[in-house]
């Protein structure tokens, strides 16, 4: 009897695993087929908490979504800022504070290494753009159009070529 129950329990457990596998696949397909807005850099979509970097000749914008409570993504932002500083023309680095309340955003604003700090109070990045990963660098050209996201360590290599989307 206990053998039969063990077998039934094991089958139920396996069925649950198969369902979990199918569920993950379904989530991925749903995410892949969802029509997200193409990100566009427009400061008016966010609340600007700190503005600077106007004195440099700006070659586009690097937007880095970060959460103030995440040391790793703040480190990624610092690396992006260092890389940007060495570029000619230099991109403006914008820290986009996401998934955080107003008080924490205001507390964090002075310890963030970026030209501009904006707060995503309406969850544009997550809910309209479909963003999920803190610390990725979204690269925009001078008109605010998305060029492509770049990995931080490759940003220095690719940012010099400002080709419009679709030409790479």
């Amino acid at each position: 009897m206990s053998g039969a129950w063990t077998r039934v329990g094991a089958r139920v457990l396996l069925a649950a695993l198969v369902l979990a596998f199918a569920g993950i696949g379904a989530l991925r397909v749903r995410d892949d087929t969802h029509r997200w807005e193409t990100p566009r850099w427009d400061a008016r979509a966010f609340r600007v908490l700190r503005h600077g970097g106007d004195s440099v000749r700006v070659g586009g914008t690097w937007l880095v979504p970060v959460n103030p409570g995440c040391p790793s993504c703040l480190a990624a932002l610092a690396v992006a800022a260092r890389r940007a500083h060495d570029m000619r023309p230099r991109p403006r680095v914008v820290a986009l504070l996401v998934d955080t309340g107003e008080r924490r955003a205001l507390d964090a604003v002075w310890r963030i290494d970026a030209d501009v700090v904006v707060w995503d109070e309406n969850q544009v990045w997550r809910h309209r753009w479909g963003g999920r990963r803190y610390g990725e660098v979204l690269r925009f050209d001078a008109s605010g159009a998305l060029v492509r996201p770049v990995r931080v360590e490759r940003a220095a290599l690719t940012v010099a070529n400002h080709a419009p989307p679709g030409r790479r």
Binding site: G3, R7, A10, G25, L27, A76, V79, R151
Partner: protein, 223 residues
């Protein structure tokens, strides 16, 4: 000689004896190691996992401010690895229980621990890939999977496909896992091999899909 005797004795036991929960934990482990020999090899593999964790955390600590120091990192790695091996053994236990067969847990998890030394080799090879020459990198790619050909990302891990770690060593690990099941169940290799390959594919596809979902697919792949 002692090892051969141990293997013969193990093979003489009936399936019921082996499936009755009285199975010695080293029974049937890779050609019938003695208990002491199995314990020594198992401890070596555990120590190697701790060492791998130490070096991994030592590398990461300089980049990530919130990464633990190397020694606690080694402990965490060891605990996580043991938990993963136990979970893996439990998974196969459940699969075979669903088919009405009982897999002895302790010998099987010991066999998995010993087989995990192949995972360690693959990790060590991948870690050596960025400094290796062109020919060595090709060899590493074949042995440890194409992920070994990529230099480690500075901050954000590159999205890996489900087969990024598939190389000769992974195939060997799959084969050893299937063989351990076949021995423990006293049956042919084909069905355990099918079960293991299916489990490997499902796990790696599921992890890749989850990684895709977690990073978001809205803006396409990162270059």
């Amino acid at each position: 000689m002692q090892a051969n005797d141990s293997m013969v004795a193990w093979n003489r036991r009936t399936a019921d004896e082996r499936e009755g929960g009285r199975t010695p934990w080293n029974a049937g482990v890779w050609g019938g190691f003695t208990r002491g020999g199995t314990a020594i090899v198992a401890l070596c593999v555990l120590a190697a996992w701790a060492g791998e964790g130490y070096h991994r955390f030592a590398r990461l600590a300089g980049t990530y401010p919130d990464v633990a120091a190397p020694w606690p990192g080694a402990g965490v790695t060891l605990l996580v690895r043991v938990a993963m091996l136990v979970s893996e053994a439990w998974f196969y236990l459940v699969v075979w229980a669903a088919a009405g067969r009982r897999l002895a847990f302790r010998p099987f998890v010991t066999a998995l621990l010993l087989a995990s030394s192949l995972d360690l080799c693959a990790i060590a090879l991948r870690a050596a890939a960025p400094d290796a020459g062109a020919l060595a990198r090709v060899l590493i790619g074949g042995l440890a999977g194409p992920r070994g050909l990529e230099p480690p990302p500075e901050l954000i891990a590159a999205p890996d496909g489900p087969f990024a770690t598939l190389g000769v060593l992974t195939l060997g690990r799959i084969a050893l896992t299937a063989w351990a099941q076949a021995r423990a169940l006293n049956r042919g290799l084909l069905m355990p091999l099918l079960v293991t390959v299916t489990a490997w594919l499902a796990l790696h596809l599921g992890m890749a899909w989850y990684a895709d979902f977690a990073r978001g697919l809205a803006h396409g792949d990162m270059p």
